[in-house]
Symmetry: C2
Subunit: 287 residues, 2 copies
Amino acid sequence: MIIDKLFQQVANKGHVCVGLDTDYAYLPDTLKRQNANIEDAIFAFNTEIIQATLDVVACYKVQIAYYEALGVQGMRCYQRTLEYLRLHGAIVIADIKRGDIAKTAEMYARAHFTGDFEADFITVNPYMGLDTISPYIPYIQNNNKGIFALLRTSNAGSKDIECLLTDKGERVCDTVGRQIAQMGESLIGSCGYSALGGVVGCTFADEAKEMRKNLPTTFFLIPGYGAQGGKAEDIALCLHKGNGGVVNASRSILLAYKKIENGESNFAECARNEAIRMKNDILNAII
Amino acid sequence: MIIDKLFQQVANKGHVCVGLDTDYAYLPDTLKRQNANIEDAIFAFNTEIIQATLDVVACYKVQIAYYEALGVQGMRCYQRTLEYLRLHGAIVIADIKRGDIAKTAEMYARAHFTGDFEADFITVNPYMGLDTISPYIPYIQNNNKGIFALLRTSNAGSKDIECLLTDKGERVCDTVGRQIAQMGESLIGSCGYSALGGVVGCTFADEAKEMRKNLPTTFFLIPGYGAQGGKAEDIALCLHKGNGGVVNASRSILLAYKKIENGESNFAECARNEAIRMKNDILNAII
């Protein structure tokens, strides 16, 4: 199962998930000059980042919004990036946060678990209910796929809905977490985690600890490390025996070169060094 | 403002919103044979449906999932369909249900309010909080755009989160509705409705009536008519003085030809007839 592969990747290479939220503005000028168009330039940037980090990170998360923003050529670049990742055996999380029902959800499943935009995991938004998630289950069972449902995200606005208290005395995100865990019970791999995971930010450390305890079989995709304020010790609280989660970092890795003198010319190496620094930062916190 | 234009369209042409959720399987065989590839065939189908319904419907809703499912060529078809709609002066709602924060949300705004995939309205998913919506506001103000936030959808699963009771004694979807209405106060057009609208299904008629009362300035995008069980009388309860909402129908219009003998050869006329039937069905219920 893909969740076992992800678990193993974490055990072997640490918790870093490189976020390929690649804005054209992030690219070194030389790379912009070397490529005839935006699509090729971003793809070239992505491939260099991937090559430089493959052996030190657990997986990659590609944020589709950055590619959609470039229209059809952006979607081609998205397709090529996913293809390149799969070709190199990397685990790909498509951060698409889709959420729809019935035949529309089946179309999203087809879109992101097969064909041009095939990924290993996708993120999904559960607001409309569990019938937004059930259409993905056959792909988890038959095509070795997985999903991460939004539970408690790392943004300030998560208080507006996710943290509303229900009349049962639990927060909406806890209700969703419980439902997701139940739904994922039949999808648990040999690693002890389900292929139906959850997105849980590390910017509210006490809560994350509580969610880890309440959801022992739910693998976490963890945003919020670094610029958003989450620390390695906060990550440690989201894990169990040092596993059960991957930690996303995008700009800190993609733009690491900007903090290094003459970093432009070896931006990929700068990304690698930052990925290693982050990996060790987290590993040190869980020991 | 775009919301005033939509209001006027409803006043002039009724409440029908044609859902271009075009599955290749829906196409008549002749159309499949006439076109060299899936992209061209679906685009040809869409253009004929649009041409045949332009003067009898309020707007069009394009469900992006159906196009994403076809990969890059699907996204080209999506781009061409939106371009065609804009070229013919139609109001386009992109049913994308995106929901993300900060720079990612800005990228979604750029993706769907400018460039290849430009639409007039988009649907958004508010689960992560109001900061998933604020990045769209400048486009509403400066680019004459609008959004529909998911409130109470028409599916059975809407009970799982949308209808959870909060400790304040209201449902999650009512809390969201209130927040959206407040946020939309500064975006109200001369028609009395805000460019920040809501998705409210008509399959729970009593609730829809209540939401109409509680949200007097919120324009509704209404799913659930027809196959899902919503009736014209239920639609009437979602409206105020016969306006304030558009009603989506997809398969009943796109596949109307299948209910007519030899309908294949004039599928667009069949779609037109069904759109007119639906338009009159609703108009009769509100008189």
